[in-house]
Homo-oligomer: 279 residues x 6
């Protein structure tokens, strides 16, 4: 169960409105790697957690924090939309700044949300839950989380570069710092699990059941061998189980497939619409 | 540019048709972490790559291999659909096996694709490109890739557990082995990049610009302190820059937000729809 | 900002697992009118609220409660999935119950989420934010909220009818009761606003600017006049501004449209691909 | 069955082309609360109606009218796109008006539809049927309809404020007037049903089966008690069944959930990946 | 503008309810090539038509008919859902027919639509407008229409094969017949346009501006030359402009691409994260 | 299985960056009829093909070529994004060109993809697999393919008209030429199949089972008879089986539908919420 307090986790106030930037900032609110994604991903991972309580508790801690981030960014966007222009393009272009703002802002910020934030990304695409994963396997999911925090911090940094507004930059400097922590946190949690089990997910599948002759082979399907120069092409495998092998010319191990004809009641093209026409 | 050869990378032939299993197997074809996802993710990462050629080449090698996996699974699904029943439920239930098959298979495998595989997941939801990421930052993206291969192998293993068909299991044992390699590959590539730059993505953002007092603090937003027992709560941070700190009772650093009233031409509820009615 | 406590708002424990019911219950978790919808809708309405603080506070109260409902249903679904069967259909049908369960459950509950709840509906379709609205106009939005609680309670009642499990019914009886309150709450909030302004949204648009001769006319576009028997066809209009009028044979008020030809560089079909062929 | 006549219900002709406005106007054509939504929602409610014929007939009357509105707005958009610029940005910016138009219009209006309207919203997102509801319970659905007409009129008014074109404003004044009627119509239909049954949907569920001790309690989950000042917090409940109660400090009624470990063949993280590492 | 009459274009009444079949029949209502698709596609093509009135009128004739088909199928589905079972799986399986029905039907047909049709396909995926095209170029669009009617009739035939219900088959025999006409109609309209212009769309682009040396070459990118045996590999091109050429070993005409490094403020991986680690 | 070579099929290099054009060009990469669509459509048609090998091989040839087109356009887009501006709108508008570029480009090209192409269309909407069809019936699918190549060439031509960049136009001239071939190719393949079977899809359904009295009737559902002037309204039907008939006043062949009341446990509005209130 949750409680809300009115204070923001950190101040979210721009020095001046900027509706075009409001549109861009939506990316880290409702985008693929925005705050709604990590909030929902962590909450579901926590609620579904069947492992030790320290994991469940830790995941729900961070999930609850992400809700505060959603709130901060929503607040910032609403304020960036203060005084957004509402008029025709033709009038607007008399002032080039207003003209370019009208063209560059998200029209739904006026028409649909009345100067409020929306749970969408920077092109107005709605957030959807296929952005999240809660697999029941924590090592897999912590890797998802590390990726989400990496993409998220990268996007926040790019948004930091795209404005000079001190208030916006101040809020972003907070979010970027928290993403530093969260990347560290998931790295720590991954290390924790990798020390208890093998590094390959899922560690519980008996490796003798897999086709082991191709378990450590790098296959060069793209002409040229620049790919041979990497750590992935030689030396001990990262899971410590074998040596990497570089296959310069990978070949097919299966035959050409020929499918059976389908039964008549499916009304596919019959096997032999014969070749009488040509050949 | 690409060339196709008719042989499969590995055999994809079930011992017997099983249309209900065909529906399930769609998950690793067209699902969130299916083969289409990794194929498209790697190809776009390769084509967009502005870094050293060894990375571009390596990424395109594996992207090209994933196309062969898409082909194998599509072939397997078409064969699992051979002889799928097409009749009413009422007749079907005279044979309980057929009855449960009719209820359990994906109706589009008959009506739409005529016994062919579809680029959708196990509930028939279409594949979409928001499953993929190509950010231009390779460390971020390699973490995405490691996650995708972890979720993918986990799903393949669960599908292995859900059938006893030797032909299906044989193909899965190949895919599972390749996922072992691909997890190792991305771990190696991550190690490679982390040794050249800092572990936090993006490494190029000056850390003094972030709000550093919260860069290494674990915040306990969920009542109870089980989360204190983890590696993430004490000791050196994983990026080697600081010590983790555990904040038992995190408090708000910002004030309660109060938004400005909106202008009349937006037709929001005015600030003061006054309280005369009650209070 | 938010805090989480470990207790559930209300117990969420089935008497026995039931993976087919788990699939159905997803509807009120991640469906169009599920708990995620109301949670996100209310939180965004609250965060975007530029009106009196009593509205903002009220909306955030209920938004925060809905998060607890999401948590309860997610927990219930995870428990309904305990011991879900994982095997082939052919073996399964030896036991008709297991056979029909395998056909009727959501395969992603095993393959993707490993026996956890997912943020999707009862056909596995992901939740998306276009299910929500936060328009800035509270009377409009409170009507959206009353609808959401009406559809939500209706669905919960139908799910209550679809099980005999006492634990499930107990949780649903709690949610149904809260929906009773929430319908009452939005009716009260609507009455509050309607007493301060006109009933038609938005009340701030000068009615003399609309084409007033059609503002209170019921138009009978469907042959037959059963529709004349309703309250909507005669008597005082509900906003108290006029009398309803019933138009038996509505006629067009505009001319047939003829569009201009498009310029050549658009490569549409030219206006006069002439009729020389026939006529 | 339907018949079409060539005349428009009302004239739909702008005084001058305006491709940026064409993009915005798409919102009330193919957006969440656009005319396609109400058309499809009403048609399906009518076709699915198992209640008295006066409801079915009334619903299909309005559904048929909405089709005429779709036609009018599509026509208007096509005309607003007459002479839309097709050239590079670099040339365009020599004339600031053309430059901002090129940046602000929807590129699909040229590339995809060749200067025609599209069934999408103002950010180009396609219309989808999850925007609609036909639940079989008319009171629930009429509340959905009242909401749709409220959001729809609000958006039309905001679009009216965003242009000075007399032709566009004339068409909008007609649509706004019809929305006045349609809000009144659904309010009348709601009153009609509420007088025959209880106000809470569904009225047919025996209220003694719900957890009645929480059926009329306002729970204050958000710190601070501004929410106490509303009609929803005291006085008779709107369904006339009880008194509202204000709960200042709502507490959990359920225990903390602990989930069972999952079986090994699901390959989740085992319950006890033990804590030996730290603690 | 449209008018509705109460009669159906053709009877839509099953001999007995069949909720599993109701789910399947949704495909031709709200699927990719269902009746909603053709209805919306034709209406928008008609409304956007800037060519001769005979085309506009013809397109709107058929678009209006398709609305009657939507109505018929929606009616049929509602009737197939009469008496759909609502109970738990465990009780249901005592009767194997009911058990398999519960597993095989769409749960939203009870929970969401209360035994009504929904604007979705046979896996419950919502209809969306990206299924349609109205390009402004009629020859292109008539090919889209011929495809839609071909896929639609194929699906109707497969559904005819999947039932023995005389009432359902009677309605399908009508729809299949109309699809026969509609395929013929679009073939006729295509022939009409092809006789007035060239067969390649768009005919208005000067062919000397295309890279003409590859305009009629079949390129054999897939190992083996079975593809040489087709009409597409030799003889006069279908547009009558040239001879087909078969290229056995197509080669690249462009160089390997090397992208420029990105600027630092984008925070991509720098060009030279050098190779010092390995090589 | 596939192999990749580093060379592009054709050069893809603009003379100068143009981030606004990059956004537009996305349409033929990841749009409804972009190269990803044809690539995926052809590959799945090939893999699912149960007919003669010459068709399978031909389809896979072209599917493999389309992958090279995806690569070319992705490369072009990345280059068009070189040096895309990253700064605030307010600073940007000091230079009107930069101002309009910032407003007109896709913000995700910076924030998400770091100056790389994305698998989305020109409004940023993600590619999804419902754009494709592989039905198992080749005549149906070849019509889909002819449509895709027609829409695709039309869009490429419109993009050609929207730029003066010689490098971009050079690449487009290649793609437009290939689309000329591909339209010819599918026309040839259609002719090939139509000569072996009847022109109506599916040819295998016994035409005596359809309601033959309406199989060749053009029905005039839209007032006015301009539609009578077309080839579709008189003369021999295109399948050669009958004569077209023009029905000026089509009438209903079915009765008005009246649905049964639903059972109480569904909680729909009861049949007789009686009319006592009015009438």
């Amino acid at each position: 169960m949750f409680y809300h307090i009115k204070e923001l986790q950190y101040e979210a106030k721009p020095d001046r409105p900027d509706p075009v930037y409001a549109k861009k900032l939506q990316e880290i609110l409702g985008g693929q790697f925005g705050e709604i994604t990590v909030m929902m991903q962590y909450l579901f991972q926590g609620w579904n957690c069947r492992a030790d309580q320290k994991y469940r508790d830790m995941i729900l801690d961070i999930g609850t924090e992400e809700m505060a981030h959603v709130e901060m960014i929503a607040t910032m966007i609403a304020r960036l939309l203060d005084n957004a222009p509402i008029q025709d393009q033709e009038e607007a272009v008399k002032d080039p700044l207003i003209g370019s703002i009208l063209g560059g802002m998200n029209p739904q910020h006026v028409i649909v949300s009345g100067l409020g934030a929306t749970p969408t990304d920077s092109v107005g695409y709605p957030w959807n839950s296929r952005y999240t994963i809660s697999s029941g396997n924590l090592l897999a999911d912590f890797r998802a989380n590390l990726n989400a925090e990496s993409q998220g911090r990268l996007q926040a940094v790019r948004l930091y570069e795209s404005t000079t507004d001190p208030g916006v930059r101040d809020m972003l400097s907070f979010l970027i710092a928290r993403d530093t922590m969260h990347q560290n946190q998931w790295m720590a949690a991954i290390e924790d699990l990798e020390q208890q089990q093998k590094a390959v997910v899922p560690a519980t599948f008996p490796q003798e059941l897999e086709k082991q002759e191709v378990s450590y082979s790098f296959m060069n399907f793209s002409e040229g061998e620049e790919s041979k120069k990497g750590r992935w092409a030689k030396g001990k495998s990262l899971d410590g189980q074998a040596e990497f092998e570089y296959v310069s010319h990978p070949t097919a191990m299966g035959p050409p497939p020929v499918l059976n004809p389908s039964p008549p009641n499916v009304h596919d093209t019959p096997k032999r619409v014969t070749n009488q026409y040509i050949d």
